[in-house]
Symmetry: C2
Subunit: 209 residues, 2 copies
DNA sequence: GGAATCTTGTTAAAATATTCTCAGACTTAG
DNA sequence: CTAAGTCTGAGAATATTTTAACAAGATTCC
């Protein structure tokens, strides 16, 4: 039975399923039951079936799931076959590392442009992505379709920059700054990578293990 | 009433409290009630009080919380005043970006060394951190105290490397590779930064907003 | 083809997490 | 000093998430 509102907990597990299924594909596994998938992932079979059932019926009784088919379904749910357009704001060490290493295309994103304030990088390209001056951002957004903006900028300009972009209609932010961004508009989505938060939870857990 | 087992959900909120309190400190705010803190953070006052009560009684009826004091308490719980030792394995674009930008010392970590296989970086220093050959890793770990290892290496060597290190007594991993690491030992803690998972959840949410 | 075995999707139960409520302690203002 | 107002921490009530149970469909093996 398809569900209307999918909980955040479920959504956050989807990429992990997708990864595992990609791996199974690569290993040539053709079919898998929720039970064995659960064993591999250290998740209960119940949870897996419950999760999948939010989106449809992908399995067959007595057989299990076809790995390739299930992978495609979850990929589709996550939007890996979309053609989302993305621009990066801030081409410092982190921004450059992402442009060079991260497989954007495998996740359904094409990186069209990057922006920075530094004359050192303006006019260059990083891994084929042209770097423009921040002053050109407004015009760029108005004349191109941009689904997601990656924020790898200093934290003191993060909220202001986001506000400007939201005003121009951007509704997806991949935020690497150490601040909690927010918007009055409910359909603007923020996804944060908070390095410090992550390391601090590890700090807590190794001290209290 | 202090609790014995703290849930993961609570632990993951602590760094956010810490960040907000740091900000309040900087703004010169001396006291704050759970209610107003909740308003600023978009969290219910109940949840805040419930969370804090897992660790002790930090507030005062009729007054609220002393910002500086509460910040210190939470910092202490998270271990920002610890002196954890950390080494980085893999000095590619991402590793370098972290070494250059991430404020390790503010989170209670000192970065003592980095390791890589590439002759181009072995023998250099990045932001004051010496880069050694991977072949020296074993000896280094045996002769130094290492609490956390940062893994910024290719995913195909991630689990093997982790296994070697666990064998040598490392029990904290900050994992940036796109694989799920695991260990039979329960006191080994993994904290993952899965970039792709993060972007995929954003992809889902902008498509289903 | 038929019996035994699997395995799903769903519903129910159990476990967790969040929110509500309120007595009692403290603060502030007069 | 007193009265009115504020705010915490704890316990109770909800809500959500996870796990268990199971009927029914499908597969496999003989």
């Amino acid at each position: 039975m398809k569900k209307e509102n999918i909980s955040d907990a479920v959504i956050r597990r989807l990429p992990r399923y997708y990864r595992q299924l990609t791996d199974l594909c690569a290993r040539g596994v053709v079919r898998i039951s929720s039970h064995s998938l659960g064993q591999e992932m250290n998740i209960t079979a119940s949870q897996i079936r419950q999760d999948f059932s939010c989106f449809g019926e992908f399995g067959q009784q007595g057989y299990g799931y076809n790995v390739e088919e299930l992978r495609a379904e979850i990929g589709h749910i996550l939007g890996v076959d979309n053609d989302h357009h993305l621009v990066m704001i801030g081409v410092g060490n982190l921004g450059r590392a992402l442009l060079r290493n991260f497989p954007f295309s495998q996740t359904g994103f094409s990186v069209d442009a990057a922006f920075d304030v530094s004359p050192n990088v303006i006019g260059t390209t990083v891994n084929g992505v042209p770097v423009y001056a921040m002053s050109e951002l407004e015009h760029y957004i108005e004349t191109h379709s941009v689904d997601v903006v990656v924020l790898t900028i200093p934290q003191d300009v993060a909220q202001d920059t986001a506000d400007r972009l939201i005003e121009m209609g951007v509704h997806g932010f991949w935020n690497f700054t150490n601040v909690e961004l927010s918007s009055a508009k409910a359909d603007v989505k923020f996804e944060n990578i908070h390095f410090a938060d992550s390391l601090l939870t590890l700090s807590y857990r190794i001290a209290n293990r």
